[in-house]
């Protein structure tokens, strides 16, 4: 019978081979699905996976990968520390929303004053603080009362969504908006706009922040004592205790870090690409980032690549919908499939499949 045997060390070969294998598997199974829907599977796959990168209009799509990927990277990097240490923040979506609300509120409070040197940094600060504070709720409840942070952080997502709706309809509503919900467009208010750094490159401050986060995370994990503590707490909690890691402090730091980054992501999104607070402002980056964090094996570089892959399927999926007439549902299904395969074949990295005759 087939059994799994744990490898002493994760296999270096499979670390790199599994993502390729899963994309390949997705293409095969997804291709069959598309063929069943009456599409040419090869054209469909090329459209989804290659057209955004190498086609006539890829000069437009490539920067779009940054826009779609940056919030995912920023949030997933923050989450990865906690996930490594066994601190489960699955409420990044809520922290993202609160960061956006706080950032936007500060920006709108100054409208129409012109002082970019003051307003934009204050907004960044407010976004970070908002996300941090929202994450501190599960943090403090966990450290003070032992309350499960998975569930508290998840519950707070719904609270944040309701808060978002009330902000879009109430205090932050655009007074010149003909009575429609939604705030003023921050990207049209120069002092508060998260502008493109190089014109038409789609590189906004959120993209820069995402890259900085990747570098810092890499350094912290590889070289810094904090990274060591995080890894130790996740792998051997008791040893971490002996090494002098204060578990409560670690929980608060991990949650605070992920909340801060999620809040920043929300703030950069609301002041740049999205432009305004609206009822449907959040589109699930906080949840998708959880998947991205795991697909990236909780490693900064892996997260960067995983976010790129997710962004690719979103953008390629849209192209396939409009060019080939594929239903949106088929794209969603393909994404789900890709995630399943990525998660499933990961087993090969940490385990060896062996044949055993009879019962060992």
């Amino acid at each position: 019978m087939i059994t799994l045997e744990k490898r002493p060390e994760p296999s270096q070969f499979w670390v790199f081979a599994t993502p390729l294998l899963s994309v390949l598997l997705t293409m095969v199974v997804g291709g069959m699905l598309f063929a069943a829907l009456g599409q040419n599977p090869f054209v469909a796959m090329r459209t989804i996976f290659l057209d955004p990168l190498f086609s006539e209009f890829s000069w437009f799509y490539r920067p779009q990968l940054f826009i779609k990927g940056a919030p995912l990277v920023l949030i997933a990097i923050g989450l990865s520390f906690g996930f490594r240490a066994g601190v489960w923040n699955i409420g990044a979506e809520g922290q993202y929303i609160i960061g956006a609300i706080c950032g936007a509120a500060v920006g709108l409070a100054f409208y129409p004053m012109e002082a970019r040197w003051l307003i934009f940094p204050l907004m960044v600060l407010a976004g970070a603080l908002g996300g941090w504070a929202w994450a501190m709720i599960p943090g403090i409840l966990r450290t003070r009362f032992g309350t499960n942070e998975i569930l508290v952080s998840l519950m707070l997502v719904y609270v944040a969504e309701q808060l978002l709706a009330s902000m879009a309809l109430g205090p932050l509503r655009n007074p010149d908006g003909m009575g429609f919900p939604g705030s003023r467009n921050l990207s049209q208010y120069p002092s508060a706009a998260n502008l493109e750094l190089i014109q038409e490159s789609a590189m906004h401050w959120g993209v820069v922040a995402a890259f900085i986060a990747v570098i810092f995370a890499y350094v912290a994990l590889a070289r810094h004592l904090f990274g060591f503590h995080v890894r130790l707490a996740g792998q051997a909690p008791r040893a971490a205790n002996f090494a002098g890691v204060n578990p409560n402090r670690l929980i608060l730091i991990c949650l605070g870090l992920s909340g801060t980054l999620a809040g920043l992501a929300g703030m950069f999104e609301v002041s740049g690409p999205a432009g305004q607070i609206s009822i449907d402002f959040n589109v699930g980056y906080g949840f998708t980032a959880i998947i991205v964090a795991f697909l990236g094996r909780l490693h900064p570089i892996g997260i960067l690549l995983a976010a790129g892959l997710m962004a690719l399927t979103y953008i390629g999926g849209e192209i396939a919908q409009s060019n080939l007439g594929l239903p949106g549902a088929a794209i969603q299904l393909l994404q789900g499939m890709l995630l399943f395969f990525l998660l499933a074949v990961d087993v090969l990295t940490n385990y060896r499949i062996t044949w055993q005759r009879g019962r060992a």
């Binding site: 437009f60 779609k68 009575g179």
Partner: protein
């Protein structure tokens, strides 16, 4: 060279390579951006019916493309840009939240025509269009005021925005005109589409005595709830919802985008397209009144049809004075007709008329 010039060049190139539209060799490409799934049975479904009507009308001469479930914000901006790049000549963006993205993308593609639904920002190559659904609401109000026996009319409202408030006011005015004792119970569900919640809202209204339920949300759940309760009348919304006739559904407001979409596509083909602000109602068929079933007394039905006819010819405007605001102050003097824009105009309506109880939530 900035992207704007590249994009303009690319759009131009795309226009050239795909052949001049006017000489009719290559199909005209029409793009549609949808906020929901085409299978929502309501808002997006009706826009997609409009798309299919365009295909039907022009056959080989057009090619339509669409992307569904596009979130408002940067995703919609990307989808529009992508459509424009791939050679779309005309793009319909069918949700209010697409307003700023549409304007942004349109600025980059001066040769592509854009049509934004329900917004208020125009540009040289951006038209706006919306439907005067309140005309249909007036008809519903007239029927509701007549057929209610409990004198309680329930109203499932989505979000407190001008369009919904216009609908409430129009329905109330015409219900109260035929039945001074009528009372409107309004619940705000804060969603356009959540069948379970809509069903609950309908049930609550019915339990509190409503025997007519109007809805400004898109699912058929309230119809089913009314059917189960029995003795309750409803009106279809967005789609005809005939499957619930002859009772509880006694009539409906249908969003019929097909004539507009066909006309605008034709305008692009003929080279006569220009930026306009369209706000059409029953007159052009953008708002249709679904069949009034025999559950409605014949005289009431005749009156309702006469009203529809009067609105079709422009002889009657549902907001004709004297009408006071909720606080008793004068909104429209005797014989005065509400203006579309400006202070207290219909477009930005944010107050109830006199007689509607309760407050518009903030």
């Amino acid at each position: 060279m900035s992207l704007r010039t590249i994009l303009a060049g690319a759009a131009l190139a795309a226009g050239l390579t795909s052949g001049a539209v006017a000489d009719g060799h290559e199909p005209l490409t029409v793009g549609f951006v949808y906020v929901g799934p085409v299978g929502d049975g309501g808002w997006t479904y009706e826009h997609d019916q409009g798309r299919l009507a365009v295909e039907e009308a022009f056959g080989e001469k057009v090619e339509t493309v669409f992307v569904e479930n596009v979130p408002e914000g940067p995703d919609s901006e990307r989808v529009m840009t992508q459509m424009a790049l791939q050679g779309a000549d005309l793009i319909f963006t069918t949700s209010f939240g697409y307003m700023d993205p549409t304007i942004n993308v349109a600025a980059k593609f001066p040769d592509v025509k854009f049509e934004h639904a329900t917004g208020y920002k125009q540009a040289d190559n951006v038209s706006v269009y919306s439907a005067r659904f309140y005309e249909g609401r007036a008809v519903q109000g007239h029927i509701a005021g007549n057929i209610t026996e409990s004198n309680i009319v329930g109203y499932i409202a989505s979000f407190p925005i001008p369009e919904v408030i216009r609908g409430i006011n129009a329905a109330y005015l015409h219900a109260a005109a035929v039945n001074p004792d009528v009372e409107f119970k309004i619940v705000w569900v804060y969603t356009w589409f959540d069948p379970a919640k809509e069903a609950e809202a309908a049930n609550v209204l019915i339990e509190q005595g409503a025997d007519v339920v109007l809805q400004h949300t898109d699912s058929t759940a309230p119809q089913a709830a009314a059917q189960a309760a029995g003795g309750v009348y409803t009106f279809g919304q967005a789609s005809d919802m005939t499957e619930f006739g002859p009772v509880p559904r006694v009539s409906s407001i249908i969003d019929n985008w097909a004539p507009y979409y066909i006309a605008r596509t034709q305008a692009v083909m003929d080279g006569t397209w220009e930026s306009v602000s369209t706000w059409d109602g029953i007159d052009t068929g953008m708002v249709e009144i679904g069949e009034i079933t025999d559950a409605v007394p014949a005289d009431v039905k005749a009156e309702a049809l006469a009203m529809v006819e009067a609105m079709r010819t422009g002889a009657y405007h549902p907001f004709t004075g004297p009408i006071n605001k909720q606080d008793g102050s004068v909104w429209l003097a005797e014989g005065e007709v509400a203006s579309d824009y400006g202070d207290d105009g219909l477009a930005g309506m944010n107050f109830y008329v006199e007689g509607v109880s309760g407050e518009i939530p903030e």
